[in-house]
């Protein structure tokens, strides 16, 4: 239980940190920020890799989680990069 209290603390601090970090974003970057954050939420891939393997059902669930998290990660980063490369100042 002590572990959960500690991790809960990390969770709250990170949220506050996030709110502080991104409070002023120029509207030009709203979409790239959203899409970049979206790619980061693909961190679920790490969680998917930690799953256990006990029986067919668990394997199927793990495969699904890895597959969809990977789509999120690769797609998210690539499209953010593509978008950012278009923003130019002449």
């Amino acid at each position: 239980m002590e572990m959960y209290v500690l991790l809960g603390f990390v969770l709250l601090l990170s949220i506050f940190l996030g709110l502080e970090l991104i409070s002023k974003v120029p509207s030009t970057l709203h979409t790239p920020l959203m899409s970049g954050a979206n790619a980061i939420s693909g961190i679920a891939l790490v969680g998917a890799l930690m799953l256990s393997s006990a029986g067919q059902m668990q394997d199927i669930l793990a495969f699904g989680a890895i597959l969809f998290a990977s789509i999120n990660v690769f797609g998210g980063y690539l499209v953010t990069n593509r978008m950012l490369s278009m923003f130019k100042k002449k």
Partner: protein
């Protein structure tokens, strides 16, 4: 055994380094000069976190390789092929996949033997948030790509909305009941019903929200996918999941708040009430005569203008007119006219939608201005060209108390010397509010497809 403990220490240290890189990455992503680097840094953080996790695997490597390679291929193909006009629905789709991944992770954890009551509660919460993110994002995808046309008020929508409201007490029940009774129910159907109900609830959550409110929904779903990942981190006792997930949750929340502010509405009003019942619609039929204009006349006026403000909206995205708009802007500049673009934060279907489209068309981003920058000097603008925008330039928001959109910050184009409104027909905007701008003395309506109309003006300039 000592070896395993060592691996865990190394993993945790790399997770901390990754977390720091994610934090710096997202910070850099919020500034124009460093955004590209920020994205690389966060990708590097992702790579490190994933690579170090592979030191201790329980799942068959073949399954992992198959999943990562296939997922990477699909994701990359979508990202490379997608048209910039289709970005909103694609972000929604990727977001949904992230939610689905956490949903499946929590499901897998449910199947583990010996879950404590606290873990059980976490599993249920993660399933709920992940599931709603998944099915809600799919509905958002359907709506944005216009494949799904069910709106508010239809029978099916109402059924799903009811399921959404039903899902909340159900969640409280599955979380609280085992803690009170002291044991986890071992009935399989209990869990299956909850899984299905969660997915239905996500549909009911997003289905009634539409059109102009989409920027808020997309940012909120984005935030939820992060929170789901953070909860999965609590479940798996993994710190990088918690930090990265919380960062996404926070950034999505900030965007949600910015969007809601730009509409002068509360988030609950957008999600649960909608425009129709937000205040009594003032029935002041401020009708008058509409003054249509042809492209030829528009060209003659533009040729003599010394300053022009372009105000794009969702209609520009629909007509795919961003390239001709840029061309017209360049021709005007060659002609000695000062050209600016006034971008309203909620124009379009996602945060920053217009900025992305204009960037795609090669418009320099220092020409893009926010409402606060252009409104004070609006009376010095010779011509304001409104392209497929409606509610964000509706003067009712400032003049007509009692209008559903009263109080919403707008781009005050009606103060410009002349206003051109490019529009397909006289239909009202998403809010369903009549726009008095169309009947103003200084407004000229240029009916037709925006791309064609501007194309004709461009052709005239070239002659």
């Amino acid at each position: 055994m000592e070896n395993l403990a060592n691996i865990q220490v190394i993993q945790n240290m790399v997770y901390i380094i990754s977390s720091v890189m994610f934090i710096l990455g997202i910070k850099m992503l919020g500034k124009e000069a460093t955004a590209v680097k920020g994205n690389y840094l966060s990708a590097l953080a992702m790579f490190c976190a994933v690579a170090i996790t592979c030191l201790s695997l329980e799942i068959d490597v073949k399954i992992i390789l198959a999943g990562v390679l296939l997922g990477g291929l699909i994701g990359s193909l979508i990202a490379i092929k997608v048209k910039m006009t289709a970005i909103p629905e694609m972000v929604a789709l990727f977001n949904g996949f992230g939610g689905l991944a956490t949903f499946l992770i929590a499901w897998s954890q449910f199947n583990e033997p010996d879950n404590s009551l606290f873990q059980h509660a976490l599993v249920m919460l993660t399933i709920y948030i992940g599931g709603i993110t998944f099915s809600g994002s799919l509905i958002a995808y359907g709506k944005l790509s216009e494949k799904l046309k069910l709106g508010k008020g239809s029978m099916i929508t109402n059924i799903f909305i009811s399921l959404f409201y039903l899902s909340m007490p159900a969640l409280i029940y599955v979380v609280a009941e085992p803690s009170l009774s002291g044991f986890i129910p071992q009935v399989p159907s209990y869990f299956s019903v909850f899984l299905v109900l969660t997915l239905m609830a996500g549909i009911g959550f997003v289905m009634p929200i539409g059109g102009g409110d989409m920027p808020v929904v997309i940012s909120l779903l984005n935030s939820l996918s992060g929170i789901a990942a953070a909860f999965a981190g609590l479940l798996l006792l993994n710190n990088v999941l918690i930090v990265a997930g919380s960062l996404v949750g926070a950034s999505g929340l900030i965007l949600t708040i910015i969007m809601a502010k730009a509409m002068n509405r509360t988030i609950t009003n957008i999600l649960f009430v909608g425009y129709a019942s937000s205040g009594q619609a003032a029935s002041s039929e401020e009708q008058g005569e509409v003054k249509p204009i042809t492209s030829d006349d528009a060209y003659l006026i533009l040729e003599n203008a010394s300053s022009v403000l372009v105000v794009p909206g969702y209609g520009m995205a629909v007509a795919q007119a961003q390239h001709v708009v840029r061309e017209m802007g360049e021709l005007l500049e060659e002609n000695g006219t000062e050209v600016k673009y006034g971008i309203h934060p909620v124009a379009g279907r996602m945060p920053g939608h217009m900025n992305v489209l204009l960037a795609e068309a090669n418009v320099s981003y220092d020409l893009l201005a926010e409402p606060d920058d252009v409104n004070p000097s609006m009376d010095t603008i010779d011509v304001a060209i409104v392209i497929g925008a409606n509610d964000v330039v509706n003067p009712s928001a400032t003049e007509e108390e009692g209008s559903p959109i009263y109080g919403m910050p707008i781009i005050e184009v009606h103060n410009a010397k002349t206003v051109f409104v490019l529009k397909r027909s006289m239909s009202s905007g998403f809010a369903g509010v009549q726009n008095p701008l169309f009947f103003k003395e200084n407004t000229r309506m240029l009916f037709g497809d925006a791309k064609e109309s501007i194309g004709q003006i461009v052709a005239e300039f070239k002659d």
